[in-house]
């Protein structure tokens, strides 16, 4: 199947009287890497949290694979979350569990895998991301970069169809950003469908099939990385990119 993995149509979301998403439309095709850029508060994180049902929308529709409507009242959100992996800015590893337990918990309790099966899968993934020697460590013994890589492995262990990355390098020391982006790069080469909010413009330029500039709660401009970074149509996009590059 090479259809649309994710379709977002006219989504609205407000916090109190503050509208964050306003009639936002976005489609992500299978194997596509879509990067969301935009100022803080433009709605990137809110959008990602709406996609896996952590936040309910106020209006509009989010479809997964054309067969499950995330935004339907009474939608099976556990099913949605089984199929959509998300990684947060602040890692959110479970501090009372070892790295391996972090990776196997949901496999066992949600997918019903046996302990041996889940641990095998976990070890395989940890090994392929250079974390095999950390399997028995607790999260507080790991560097930020290692913790974030474990968080990615934890989400991948559920074999999701799409991965959402919510500014996953923003909480890291600059010298640790590279190791995490390498992981994402590897996933994109392996054909994973990715929707990613980031401030790493160089990475977006290199890896994105499509770049979407969010402004005022909607996608103001989208195109290939070359188009958006090289020759943006909208003045506001150009202003944003100029500000980011000036830093």
């Amino acid at each position: 199947m090479s259809g649309t993995t994710l379709a977002i149509e006219g989504v609205h979301k407000a916090f109190g009287t503050n509208p964050v998403l306003r009639a936002l439309d976005l489609r992500v095709a299978e194997h596509e890497v879509v990067v969301l850029i935009g100022a803080s508060g433009s709605g990137k994180s809110t959008l990602l949290r709406c996609i896996n049902g952590l936040l309910p929308v106020d209006a509009g529709r989010i479809m997964l694979d054309d067969d499950i409507e995330v935004t339907a009242l009474g939608a099976d959100l556990d099913e949605v979350r089984r199929r959509v992996g998300i990684v947060f800015q602040s890692f959110n590893l479970f501090p009372h569990r070892s790295v391996l337990d972090n990776v196997t918990l949901a496999q066992r309790k949600v997918l019903g895998r046996s302990k041996a099966e889940a641990e095998q899968h976990g070890h395989d993934l940890l090994t392929s991301f250079g974390l095999s020697d950390k399997a028995m460590s607790f999260p507080d013994r790991l560097s930020g970069g290692q913790q974030q890589r474990v968080a990615i492995v934890r989400a991948l262990a559920m074999d999701p169809e799409i991965m959402l990355f919510d500014e996953i390098t923003s909480a890291l020391d600059p010298q640790l950003v590279g190791e995490v982006l390498d992981v994402v790069r590897g996933l994109s080469h392996a054909g994973m469908t990715i929707l990613m909010a980031t401030h790493e413009m160089a990475f977006a330029q290199e890896c994105a099939d499509r770049v979407c500039f969010l402004d005022g709660g909607a996608v103001l401009e989208e195109g290939t990385a070359q188009q958006v970074f090289g020759d943006a149509r909208e003045q506001r996009t150009r202003d944003f990119l100029a500000r980011v590059r000036a830093r």
Partner: protein, 291 residues
């Protein structure tokens, strides 16, 4: 390992301390120990001398610290104290279970469990507000007076139930504080992996919450251990009641002191344990970890 006479190289860096500085530090440590030992000895000797030289001391000694009284009442009071320990051992697990159940009930969000939430809230409001001793009277005398068939008439049972009801209201609040202290992002992370709300509570939130509330819970245990004496007001002969009986024969207060020492002998180790756990969890928080 190839050459003889050298230490094996473990690869670990060897910390370097200036020998002069190390020597100074060692001498300071010795001096500090000596000063502390001498000063404590002086304080103890002075204190004992001051108390025993007071005019009323012989009377105080005979009234509160009579060796003869200790010898004759200790066995009885100690065996009565065993009842306090048993009340504690029965009540404590029940309190933990009831307290946790109430805390979890208050945390539910479904409209279906709204009654549960109301009951739990009302329960803590009421039973934290009633003096424990009043509850002991109320249940210990009140329930047997109903003469219900199939319901135990033993005041000991109802006194223990009163302690469980009163303390579980406190313990519920301790658990609730622990649950609230787990950052919402932990719940979000667990839910985003597809874990249900119940699974999230069971595997992610509760283990972290319980770890954090162990020190305050121990504090409540210590308090409960003392409050087992409240059951004496409705009849059961535990340490306090036994001391009262012994004392009423002789008009000597040594039996009370004996009972007090027995309580202390149990609560002091518990207090030290709580302190140690507190210090440990503070150290872990300071180090930025929570294993």
């Amino acid at each position: 390992m190839t050459t003889s006479g050298t230490e094996p190289d473990t690869g670990a860096p060897i910390p370097y301390v200036d020998p002069v500085r190390r020597d100074l530090q060692r001498r300071k440590a010795i001096r500090d120990t000596v000063i502390a030992s001498v000063s404590i000895a002086v304080v103890v000797v002075a204190g004992v001398a001051l108390v025993t030289s007071a005019a009323g001391w012989p009377l105080v000694r005979d009234t509160f610290f009579s060796g003869e009284q200790i010898g004759s009442t200790l066995p009885e009071i100690a065996s009565a104290f065993w009842l306090n320990v048993r009340i504690f051992l029965v009540a404590e697990p029940l309190i933990l279970v009831v307290g946790l159940a109430i805390a979890l009930s208050r945390g539910t969000r479904s409209p279906l469990t709204f009654p549960l939430r109301v009951v739990a809230t009302v329960y803590t409001d009421i039973f934290r507000g009633i003096p424990t001793i009043l509850l002991v009277f109320l249940l210990g005398f009140g329930v047997p007076a109903l003469g219900l068939s199939g319901v135990p008439n033993d005041p000991l049972v109802w006194g223990t139930v009163a302690l469980v009801i009163s303390y579980s209201a406190y313990v519920a609040e301790v658990f609730r504080a622990g649950i609230d202290s787990v950052h919402p992002s932990q719940r979000a992370a667990a839910r985003s992996l597809g874990l249900s709300s119940v699974q999230t509570t069971r595997y992610v939130v509760l283990p972290q919450a319980v770890r954090r509330v162990v020190p305050p819970l121990l504090n409540d245990f210590i308090s409960l251990q003392k409050d087992t004496a409240l059951v004496s007001v409705i009849g059961p002969i535990e340490a306090l009641r036994q001391a009262q009986i012994d004392s009423s024969f002789t008009f000597n207060f040594t039996p009370y002191v004996v009972a007090a020492v027995l309580f202390i002998a149990l609560t002091v180790p518990m207090t030290r344990c709580a302190d140690w756990l507190n210090a440990r969890s503070a150290r872990e928080r300071g180090a930025g970890g929570s294993t």
